[in-house]
């Protein structure tokens, strides 16, 4: 049974034991120190989480880069910290199939997130050490929230309750802006509320068990419950949730550091942004939704968990890497068992590599079409590379080998004009429209001709033995 964390604090303790968390005990300035440290982590080889114990003018601490390395990602899954990415991918896939694992609903008394309640004179600065992440951001952003909303048409259907990650801009001490892009789940619910001019109740959980945050940023089907996925990814151990205080039908992670509750004000849009986004550039000012906060509950000495975004790779790229890859793999695999693995780690799947067996001529290109017809792939996937089954899509050296030795540009490169695109991709013009590039780097099979078929070089059977001998000698040399 994999190690499971009840809350953020248990995970931080493990990160610290494993040398993947550093504490800054000296007081820091909110700007530019916290954002700069997030960037610095991303630049390093080891990439630890950073906990700031004292932030000037604030009461509580901040932690950043919690998900920001493959080591931290492996530890999140309860695996040894040096587990290779491909192994993490297949372990996630294995656990994914345990869905659904219903969450455990705990009483208010047993939910740490309810240790303190604020209902009057709400000021989020009293609880959260808010700061500007990148210098041209239009304000202070909450970049790592798990946002919980229900479907106004089916309030009792927990499967239609959505837990998602949306960027949030602080507009006032009790008002925050939220970005709900039209293809996001929350936009479906908001539309129903706004059509009848009703507020949409909302709860925002900050500082969660790392797999809750991970699932909140995973693209799953609209009627799939994220909490049931958390239990699956915890290898069958249910996650604990508790009823929100202000909405009967919303459930929040029971041991979150902070819960903000309130509602999206119907038919209101105010200026939001710019915000430094995951493609490594700012997305500009737009008129977006606003939330009124009516209640805060929080743990004693809450820790504010937030993430840095910048030129990839930064924490967000690690957070959205495998949780974008796995659902796409599952959807493709259910149509075509030939699919071996999917690497959708580049800018949230805008660049995606699929490894597949090839059953007949044109199969690779067909797999790309299937990818483009998945709910996430349709707007996001833009540059699609299909490689043979023996190419590891997580090994870019192998992928480059496939491109350089398998691709005949006039035959294997296809551009499809005027499709859906990801609006935050600055090359999407108009924002939301794009062309698709498919590179079929698989070896041609009949009926496609392959007049220069080749024999591949095969490693000697003695190779693993020699890998071991050389590794032992290297380890011994390193100890000297």
């Amino acid at each position: 049974m994999a190690k499971v964390y009840k809350d953020l604090r248990e995970f931080l303790a493990t990160l610290e034991e494993e040398g993947q968390l550093v504490r800054i005990k000296e007081e820091v300035n909110p700007e530019p120190d916290i954002g700069a440290a997030g960037r610095a982590c991303a630049n390093m080889a080891e990439k630890p989480a950073v906990l700031f114990e004292k932030v000037k003018g604030y009461k509580y601490s901040v932690v950043t880069n919690v998900h920001g390395s493959w080591q931290n990602h492996a530890l999140m899954m309860g695996m040894p910290k040096n587990t290779p990415v491909k192994e993490q991918f297949f372990e996630l896939n294995r656990r994914w199939d345990k869905f659904p694992v219903p969450p455990k609903i705990v009483s208010r008394e047993n939910a740490s997130c309810k240790e303190n309640t604020v209902t009057e004179n709400i000021n989020i600065f009293e609880i959260l050490p808010l700061y500007r992440i990148n210098d041209q951001d239009g304000g202070f952003f909450i970049s790592k929230a798990s946002v919980i909303t229900g479907d106004p048409e089916f309030p009792d259907d927990l499967n239609k309750q959505n837990v998602g990650t949306y960027r949030i801009q602080v507009k006032d001490i009790d008002r925050i802006g939220i970005q709900a892009l039209p293809f996001h789940d929350i936009a479906i619910q908001l539309r129903k509320a706004e059509e009848v001019n009703e507020p949409l109740p909302i709860a925002i959980a900050l500082g969660n068990n790392p797999l809750v945050t991970f699932m909140a940023s995973t693209p799953v089907a609209y009627d799939q419950n994220e909490y049931e996925f958390v239990g699956a990814l915890q290898d069958g151990v249910p996650t604990e949730i508790v009823k929100a205080d202000t909405a009967e039908h919303l459930y929040v992670p029971a041991h979150a550091e902070v819960i903000l509750e309130g509602y999206i004000m119907p038919r209101v849009r105010t200026c939001e942004g710019p915000f430094g986004e995951f493609p490594g550039s700012y997305s500009g000012a737009r008129n977006q939704c606003e939330i009124k906060i009516t209640r805060i509950t929080h743990r004693n000495n809450p820790i504010f968990e937030n993430l840095y975004l910048g030129m990839p790779w930064t924490e967000i790229d690690y957070l959205m890497a495998l949780n974008t890859s796995v659902p796409l793999y599952k959807q493709l695999k259910s149509s075509f068992p030939e699919i071996q693995a999917v690497n959708a780690m580049y800018t949230h799947g805008i660049g995606t590599i699929v490894s597949t067996k090839v059953r007949y001529g044109g199969f690779g290109k067909g797999v790309a079409f299937r990818l483009l017809s998945t709910p996430h792939g349709m707007p996001y996937c833009k540059i699609i590379i299909i490689v043979d089954e023996f190419v590891d899509p997580f090994n870019l050296e192998q992928v480059m080998w496939a491109l350089t030795t398998r691709v005949k540009p006039t035959e294997h490169v296809t551009i499809i004009h005027n499709c859906a695109g990801m609006p935050l991709d600055p090359s999407s013009i108009p924002a939301g429209m794009h062309d698709k590039l498919i590179i079929d780097a698989t070896t041609p099979v009949p009926p496609e001709p392959n007049p220069r078929s080749v024999e591949l070089l095969k490693p000697s059977p003695a190779t693993p033995k020699w890998e071991e001998i050389i590794k032992k000698l290297m380890d011994a040399a390193a100890k000297k």
Partner: protein, 69 residues
């Protein structure tokens, strides 16, 4: 005080530091830009806003038509 982004004087104090007298946060009620008194604020020209351009910014998501009962 003028807004660092849209230049209007619709700026107010949003809050003061919860601990000590370390800083204040200002917010513009026109363009919602906010900053802390301890920051060296420089809004790049490309991100400056003209107040009358704000209503015309893209609306995300678009407000749907009201359903009549």
């Amino acid at each position: 005080m003028k807004c660092k982004r849209c230049d209007l004087d619709t700026v107010r104090v949003m809050t003061k530091s919860p601990v000590g007298n370390e800083w204040e946060v200002y917010v513009c009620d026109t363009c919602h830009y906010s900053w802390r008194s301890t920051e060296e604020v420089h809004v790049n020209d490309v991100f400056k806003l003209k107040p009358d351009s704000i209503p015309g910014l893209q609306q995300i998501p678009p407000i749907p038509p009201l359903k009549t009962k």
